[in-house]
Symmetry: C2
Subunit: 156 residues, 2 copies
Amino acid sequence: MKRAHDDDRTETPCSIARTLEVVGDKWTLLILREAAVEGMTRFAEFKERLGIAPDLLSTRLGALVDSGVMVKQPYREPGSRTRFSYHLTPAGEELRLILAALQQWGDENRPRAVGPSMVRRSVDQGRPIRVAFVDDTGTAVPMDSVKFLRTASYPS
Amino acid sequence: MKRAHDDDRTETPCSIARTLEVVGDKWTLLILREAAVEGMTRFAEFKERLGIAPDLLSTRLGALVDSGVMVKQPYREPGSRTRFSYHLTPAGEELRLILAALQQWGDENRPRAVGPSMVRRSVDQGRPIRVAFVDDTGTAVPMDSVKFLRTASYPS
C-alpha cells in the first residue's frame, strides 16, 4: 500500500487537506462516528444504523482499511457463515478528537431545544469534557489566543 | 432564513451530522482553511489559491453566509468596481478548532519528511499549541480517558 507520506513531491503540503483525503466525505465521517463514538464494529450494524447502501458502505470501509484507520477482522457466530467486523487502529482512535470538535460546534452553534443527544465525560470521574486548544503545559488557552504560522516548509 | 435548530422534529439529533451539514464538503473546508488559518477574505484570493471554478466558489461562499458562518461585505479599490470580501462570524471563528484538529491528525498520521507547513502558537508567548480534550478545570486529559454517553435526548 502506498501511503501519502512516501512521496513529498506529489502530496499536498497542507495537513488539513491530507486528513480530508482520508475523512473528507460525509458518509465516511458518519461511519467513523458509529465506530468511534457509538462503538459499532459490524458491517450489518453500520448498514442498519446509517441506512447506507451495502456497496457504498463496503467501498467506504475498504478505503478506511486501506488508509490504516480501521482493520477488518473475520468473525463467525454459531450456525452462520463468516462475517466481518471493523475496528479502529490507534490512528483511527485519534479521529475521536475531530469527531468531538464537530460535535461540540454543532451543540454550540446548532443546538436543539431538547439538548445534546450525547455528552463527553472523563472515564474515571465523569467530569464534563470539551475540545480545546492547550499549550505545552497542558493548560487550555482561549481560541483567540492561538495563531497559525507558516514554517520554512510552506510552499513558496 | 430557516435555521436547522428552529425545528427539533425534522433535524438530525446528531450534532456531528448537523455540523457536517455546514462544513461537510471538501471545498467548503478548504475555503474555511483559507479564511480561518490563512486569513484570506477576498473572492479573488480564494479563487486563485484554491484553483476553484468561480461558480463553485460563489455557491460555497453563499452557503457559508446563509448558515451564519461568514458575512459578505462590499469593498471598492480606487478605479475599480465594487467587489466582495467574506469574513468569519464568531461561529465561523470557532471552526478553527475543527480545522486545527484536522491539521494535527494530518501532521501526526500523514507526516511529510520536510515537516509541517504550518504550526500553531500562542499569540502572547509563542508556545506550541495543540488540540486536546480538557476537563472542566481546563486541564488536558488523555484521549482514552474520554467516553461518549447518550443522554435522555438520544433517539430511542
